[in-house]
Symmetry: C2
Subunit: 208 residues, 2 copies
DNA sequence: CGACTGCTTGAAGAAATTCAATTTACGTGG
DNA sequence: CCACGTAAATTGAATTTCTTCAAGCAGTCG
């Protein structure tokens, strides 16, 4: 796994399940990379409605912002270990290291691209399409090479708030995909999933 | 108005209403700035559903991407004049000009921030809240200082595809805001709007 | 073992979409 | 300059989709 700054002596930090890493509008002091676990980053409306903008999985860098403060709240989805780098020291290094500067720009651009695709999902896809897109994304990001199955770290509630749906609608969509033979739950948990028919799943995820 | 590269001899180009500037997945050759008019940038699903990710108004820079190709299609909303800069020459300049590099990074970060806020709108706000948020955004971006009224360049259909709604729902929300005395249409067009009660409008746009 | 959390499923309700009709504005050509 | 055809917007009614409310079940963790 590529770390943010390999030369640095990186601090490591552990967060228990559900614990906040940083809050929206807090000063951005550190940049983080997930060593183990998963993190959700979200915004809240004043009445409590929540929109998760992204899940950060093993290897992902998060907390990078060009402003002074964070624009999301982030929390550990499960027990999570992160590496962290002081933001100031990173910025200082950017001044002299053009390669690192390029890395950070491409990272921001990658985040932008994800957000752009997610706007299409949230604005124009129906519930089944959203869940299909989600499964394809997670399959790509957390199914080990050659493995048949993935273990979702997040709850139905988290998935719902990522997809702009209610948790019941997510559950119904997953049940529908299971009944139609596209996926199957493994063991006695509902978070271990095998994609049985990738063709059909891709067909539901209408290309843009 | 700050132009992309003031020292350059900038090319100018005109697009008639509805004409495409560039298509999604086309190689990114130019970076653009709106001199006059307005541009919409959008993604399509294969069955024609459209999600507009942003409107680019006078002064805005668009078409900047870190990849090789554009990730949106863009079209002139009305008769539009743009300045354009060759992307390669811009990148070459970035190598030596750290200030310009900083400008571009902050521009990408600004686009990201807009997308992040828009995800919250698309995922969690209801129709009236979306329209209120839209009006506040447009009021900020295109009401001249001191002016009481704004002229929207885009149709109800465009607004709908920006807000993830049907055009009828947008129309009904605007009518509701008019009936409740929050805004008023000027003249015989429905695109000139005066915000009569900013307080009430802001109250509908729940803070995050 | 038992409270609890997470998930599923059903039924009722709400919100937004679709279909449809009408009105109003707009541009073109006679 | 007016008439006509077209495009844009509004409004109502019917329908669809998703949400909310509710009940029940299973797995987990003290």
């Amino acid at each position: 796994m590529r770390r943010i700054v390999t030369k640095d002596r990186l601090s490591e930090y552990k967060y228990k399940k559900g614990v906040e890493v940083y809050g929206e509008n807090e000063p951005a002091v550190f940049v983080y990379q997930v060593k183990e676990g998963a993190v959700r980053s979200y915004k809240l409306l004043s009445d409590g409605r929540r929109q998760i903008g992204a899940f950060h999985l093993v290897g992902d860098i998060f907390g990078l912002t060009s402003g002074e403060s964070h624009r999301f709240t982030t929390e550990a989805v499960v027990e999570t270990t992160v590496w962290l780098v002081n933001r100031r020291s990173l910025e200082a290094r950017v001044e002299i290291d053009a390669v690192l500067a390029g890395h950070l720009l491409r990272l921001t651009a990658k985040n932008l691209q994800h957000a752009e695709n997610h706007m299409l999902l949230l604005g124009r896809k129906d519930a089944l399409e959203r869940v299909a897109t989600f499964l394809i994304e997670m399959d790509r990001r957390l199914t080990a090479a050659g493995a048949m199955t993935m273990t979702l770290p997040m709850s139905r509630h988290d998935i719902a708030d990522y997809l702009g749906l209610s948790l019941e609608t997510v559950s119904r969509a997953l049940s529908k995909l299971r009944r139609s033979g596209i996926l199957s739950f493994i063991g006695n948990t509902q978070r271990e999933i095998t994609i049985l028919d990738r063709e059909k799943l891709f067909a539901l995820d209408l290309q843009d």
